[in-house]
Symmetry: C2
Subunit: 339 residues, 2 copies
DNA sequence: CAAAGTTTTGAGAGCGCTCTCATAGTCAGA
DNA sequence: TCTGACTATGAGAGCGCTCTCAAAACTTTG
């Protein structure tokens, strides 16, 4: 199955290379009959334009890089990332872009790859996620003129200049915490996370909710975890010593770990301690008890990240775009509101 | 930061484009002094060869496609896949290849993309994983001359002609089941899976182990699950009615679901029912109780898949390579062997 | 029906590399 | 010092597209 060229397709269809190129790129001003004829030949031969030649001539590759600058074992264990990857992959497929994956496990790896990513012309734009507050990747990438969008709000200092797609973490946490207050719980704990803006925003929402209802936040009831189930388990064990009535976990994985810890101490959810999570991962609904949680639209997040990036690539230089998607509270048994 | 070309690097270093090209591609027969001078200029300027031009001229892109032909929600929920992706990404980084991600959620998506993947020249080779027995992707791809390796054994009918990297699922299951028999359990159940060769091989190992020790397999004690925690939970619920003393789960996620089901019925692991998993995911060690399981070398699997593919790309046509990696039993508390 | 405009098509250069082939440079041996 | 055998370097074609510009084919209009 020898690979054909534009020239050969043109020969078969009796037109020039240029005309075939016009048909492929959907240019106007082609006689309908000619367009039809060319399209038929393309379909029959299964012709696919050579992407190297294309990107050399047009200087764009239709490849996006999906970058996760600081992937730790524990970070990738969070089922959130596979879902994001899936969403982005789907959005790329739909828009005729190819997603290339760049995961960095060490800073040497990051260092080595950055240069390649930025300067080889292989990549038209970057979607950056799983970035931590202390990461230097974004500031490094900003020095080059490669377009990028971040998933999740960047640290405040840079947020204005960077395009990003985020979910309304603060509102979500506010919803979750308010829910617990309204159910009558007073000693409300939080399983928080560090070094990421999502965690910071969820923390802020949690605090606002309590404050708005006249409750003081007892710092002893706030424990720091990572985003894993195991982290949630450990943090909850510590929290249990403080005798909480309810707990807001910053992710579903953390919440599940918390539930396990609570039960291992011989207590029941929600009878003894109510639990609310965040994310609404598939496993939240299947958990025992089903988890009250804050649903975030991962698919839309991925889709919008890709579409925004396409937009930026087309119109560079463009003002930074900031998209914040709404979230919703999903009430299930773990918070004690339904039985 | 304008992008430089070979020609310009040559000008700065006082040599021709050809010589610079030789330096970059590590050709012999360059005076050490010249090579040094050129390398200095490259380093100082941060020059990166344009990858489109490179692949147009050399007709290879140094991009591999990572294909998951039939990704269901539940399949991707298995923490196994993120780890495989991570391993492959790492191996690609190391070997100066870029991994492009192709996840197909529907067969239309698969259809649309296959042609692009195969004929556009963007991709030098394919790593295929998460393929089911009924998938048609591999047979479709075989009609083209694009090199590929599969992760996991293909169905027997095609296995001989296809290069793959697998782990010794049968031996692992044999180890796991033997372990349970040796501990004195007799009514040993299995939480199995369908439509995948790994599951079939683990099933075979399970049965051999029982047979070798004179135990008959009670088919009522074999329940089919998918690879998710929720699936394991449901299947275990069904299995519990048959009164098993021990259970071999075909994955850690399934095992964790099983543990949850057992406890929900008020029974204890391992006191009432022993549980053994497969995979040795990070969460197996952190589970409560820690999970006895079969460790498979995911990192090596990914690394070998990439290295094998590189080899095949270089030497096409090449005989199919079959690599089967050893696994080992990791004994923890859930099987009742340690307390 | 000719002139002027408009639409459609083709020719040709060029994108930044690789790779072959020819030439310039180096060195040993006579 | 000159010749033959290497080794090191450069020139040039070509990879398969896109895109500009000019020419050809058609329309419209006075």
């Amino acid at each position: 199955m020898k690979r054909l060229t534009l020239e050969e397709i043109g020969q078969i269809a009796g037109v020039s290379r240029s005309t075939v190129s016009r048909v492929i790129n959907d240019h106007p001003n082609i006689r309908p009959a000619v367009r039809q004829r060319v399209e038929d030949v393309i379909r029959q031969t299964g012709y696919q334009p050579n992407s190297a030649a294309r990107s050399l001539a047009s200087s764009q590759s239709r490849v996006f890089g999906l970058v996760m600058p600081s992937i730790l074992q524990s970070a990738f264990a969070d089922p959130y990332y596979p879902l994001v990857i899936q969403a982005i992959s789907h959005a790329c497929n739909k828009n005729d872009y190819t997603p290339a994956l760049f995961l960095f496990q060490t800073s040497e790896e990051e260092e080595k790859m950055s240069q390649r990513i930025v300067a080889s012309g292989l990549i038209d734009g970057l979607i950056i996620t799983a970035d931590t507050i202390h990461s230097t990747f974004v500031s490094k990438i900003q020095q080059y003129d490669i377009p990028f969008v971040q998933i999740g709000r960047p640290p405040t200092a840079h947020a204005a200049a960077i395009s990003y797609v985020d979910v309304d973490n603060e509102a979500g946490a506010y919803l979750a915490a308010s829910h617990l207050v309204q159910l009558g719980y007073r000693r409300i704990g939080q399983l928080a996370t560090a070094h990421n803006t999502a965690g910071a925003d969820r923390d802020a929402g949690f605090r606002h909710a309590l404050a708005d209802r006249g409750l003081a936040v007892d710092e002893a009831l706030v424990k720091v975890s990572d985003f894993s189930e195991a982290g949630g388990y450990q943090a909850m064990l510590a929290l249990l010593d403080e005798g909480p009535e309810a707990v807001f976990a910053q992710s579903d994985a953390i919440a599940l770990g918390a539930v396990r810890a609570i039960r291992d101490r011989g207590l029941a959810v929600p009878e003894d301690i109510a639990v609310v999570g965040f994310d609404d991962m598939p496993l939240a609904a299947n958990a025992e008890p089903p988890l009250t949680t804050v649903r975030q639209p991962i698919n839309r997040t991925g889709m919008l990240a890709v579409e925004t990036l396409i937009d930026i690539v087309k119109t560079t230089p463009a003002p930074a775009r900031h998209i914040v998607l709404p979230v919703e509270l999903v009430i299930r048994a773990s918070s004690g509101a339904v039985n």
